[in-house]
């Protein structure tokens, strides 16, 4: 790190924002170090976009402090805008301009000279696989192409810090995969990234550290490794049953006191234990109770499990949000 450079590129302290008396972001604090890929996870309406808007100067906090690269940004939201790139949750380029012209225009906003911006636009169109569509109007691009060009526009000026708001929301699998790859490449090249998403798998794949935000409050901030550690120590299995009575979990708990049983949805029982789980005795017991085991599979502990534990929000809620956003992973 350079001498005199701040230890953290993003420092947020007690940041609060209310809309009509309802807190959208409630006294959140976190820090993001240089070169870090920091995930900001939460369901829709948790306060992720409001937080990004405050960090980038599009919204005014009610209270709290924001420092970007050591620059105070609450009283002077423009102070750090030359250092940041922002990729919003919805593409906001100019529909009447071509892909190439959109990138050149965005570069000009950062004072890049004509030769520089044309060369950079060509380079990015090539990187994002949009070379063939360079002269087509943005309005005619597919959703995935629009997303890629929006990301290209956000990094046209080589920002030190990149804010990505739901970068893969609502786009096809192949485009989402390519975008995740590009995000990882940008981070490897040294760009500090602040990523909001409600795709837990995406955050798990990309981020080094994560904050969970629910109803405007950060409920946990930690590294992926530390978040997963407690559940890695446990074994988990999902058993699908049919014709089960309502109290099957209670009866299983009585019969197998070393295991934890939880009915996760209709016909599915989650089993957790610090010891190895042998399926044979469980199947025999369930069948003796008049139910039938249709499937049993070992569960790989994931960030989703951590999220459920920490936030109390069921995975179904997140999945419904994914479907609502029209996205695939």
């Amino acid at each position: 790190m350079r001498a005199g450079a701040p230890d953290f590129l993003i420092e947020v302290n007690q940041l609060t924002k209310t809309f009509n008396g309802v807190p959208a972001v409630d006294q959140i604090s976190f820090r993001v170090g240089p070169g870090e890929l920091f995930g900001f996870l939460g369901p829709n309406g948790a306060g992720k976009t409001t937080t990004i808007n405050m960090l980038t100067g599009l919204a005014r906090p009610d209270s709290g402090t924001i420092r970007i690269a050591g620059l105070e940004c609450v009283t002077n939201p423009k102070a750090a805008q030359h250092l940041i790139g922002v990729i919003p949750d919805e593409s906001n380029l100019y529909p009447e301009l071509s892909g190439f012209d959109n990138l050149c225009f965005c570069a000009s906003l950062y004072g890049m000279k004509k030769g520089q911006r044309r060369a950079r636009a060509r380079e990015l169109l090539d990187t994002f696989g949009l070379k063939e569509a360079a002269n087509r109007k943005f309005a005619g691009y597919s959703k995935g192409m629009k997303r890629k060009l929006t990301i290209a526009a956000g990094i046209i000026h080589h920002p030190r810090i990149l804010f990505l708001d739901e970068p893969t929301s609502g786009i096809d699998v192949a485009s989402a995969r390519r975008i995740r790859q590009l995000i990882a490449e940008l981070n490897d090249a040294g760009t500090t990234i602040f990523l909001t998403t409600h795709y837990l798998e995406e955050a798990e794949r990309l981020c080094k550290r994560i904050a969970f935000i629910v109803k405007g409050r950060i409920v946990r901030t930690d590294t992926i490794a530390d978040l997963l550690q407690p559940i890695l120590e446990k074994k988990a299995m999902l058993i699908s049953v049919s014709n089960a009575s309502g109290d099957l979990c209670d009866r299983l708990s009585s019969a197998f006191p070393r295991f934890e049983f939880q009915a996760v949805s209709s016909g599915h029982i989650r089993v957790e234990s610090a010891d190895a789980i042998h399926i044979g005795p469980l199947v025999r017991f369930i069948e003796s109770q008049g139910a039938e085991v249709t499937e049993a599979r070992r569960l790989q502990p994931s960030l989703e499990d951590v999220f459920v534990r920490v936030t109390g929000i069921e995975p179904d809620v997140m999945k419904k949000e994914k479907e609502k956003a029209g996205g695939d992973l």
Partner: protein, 245 residues
């Protein structure tokens, strides 16, 4: 230097995307011609009345040319979120909004020369004080643009901006002394005339074209400049208050 690159490109983009489109160019030609024709028919006068009508037609052309486009360049861009991209640029808000409005100012000023060019072919304009007409056209274009801007930033929808603009534009045609002297208005309406920036711009044009201004030109220029500053300040305040919430 970097800021001026951004300024120039914002203006250029707006000019290409909005102002230099054929429908807008034709609007800039047809509208002044229609107004001129309408007043000839209504007054039943001949070509000798052109100098008296010209200031009003110039002012109306500028007013409609500038205010019509701001609903698109500002309100529409805000609505489809592309304006956010500009707000995220490392550019002071004042400079950004000047860049956003400079296209409208140039378009309005260009519109003013449509009736002037038509009039040159139809009547003798050798007595016109062009050194006053040109700054007057620029000041009217700036004031009208900033009036349009203050409307565009106080609403959320394009149709609201257009409707709200008409609420100001059409009364101004009759209240600002463009075609009828303010002295011919009912007494209770006259104070209202002096609260509108176009009154001062039109007065300068009347003075420059046929020497019939009712106020000193220095006062007209001072007041219209004050209106420009006031309207631009109101617009900036509204952007801060309503858009950066």
């Amino acid at each position: 230097m970097k800021r001026w690159i951004a300024f120039w490109n914002i203006m250029l983009k707006d000019m290409r995307s909005y102002y230099l489109k054929p429908p807008n160019i034709s609007w800039g030609l047809i509208f002044p011609a229609a107004w001129t024709g309408m007043f000839f028919i209504k007054t039943g006068t001949g070509l000798e009345s052109i100098p008296e009508l010209l200031p009003g037609v110039i002012a109306v052309s500028i007013l409609f040319g500038t205010t019509s486009m701001l609903a698109v360049t500002v309100t529409f861009e805000k609505k489809n979120r592309s304006f956010e991209r500009l707000l995220l640029a490392p550019l002071p808000l004042e400079l950004l909004m000047l860049a956003k409005t400079s296209g409208a100012i140039l378009f309005g000023a260009a519109n003013a020369f449509v009736p002037i060019i038509l009039a040159v072919f139809l009547t003798d304009l050798s007595g016109v004080a062009w050194m006053i007409v040109i700054p007057a056209v620029i000041m009217i274009a700036i004031a009208s643009t900033f009036l349009g801007l203050s409307i565009a930033v106080s609403v959320s929808e394009v149709f609201e901006a257009q409707t709200f603009s008409n609420f100001f534009r059409f009364p101004m045609i009759f209240l600002c002394g463009l075609f009828f002297p303010i002295s011919s208005l009912p007494m209770f309406l006259r104070p209202l005339s002096y609260l509108l920036p176009l009154t001062y711009g039109a007065d300068i044009l009347h003075g420059a074209v046929h020497g019939k201004n009712i106020m000193p030109l220095a006062l007209d220029f001072t007041v219209i400049t004050a209106f420009c500053i006031l309207l631009f300040s109101i617009s900036l305040r509204n952007i801060h208050r309503r858009w950066i919430i």
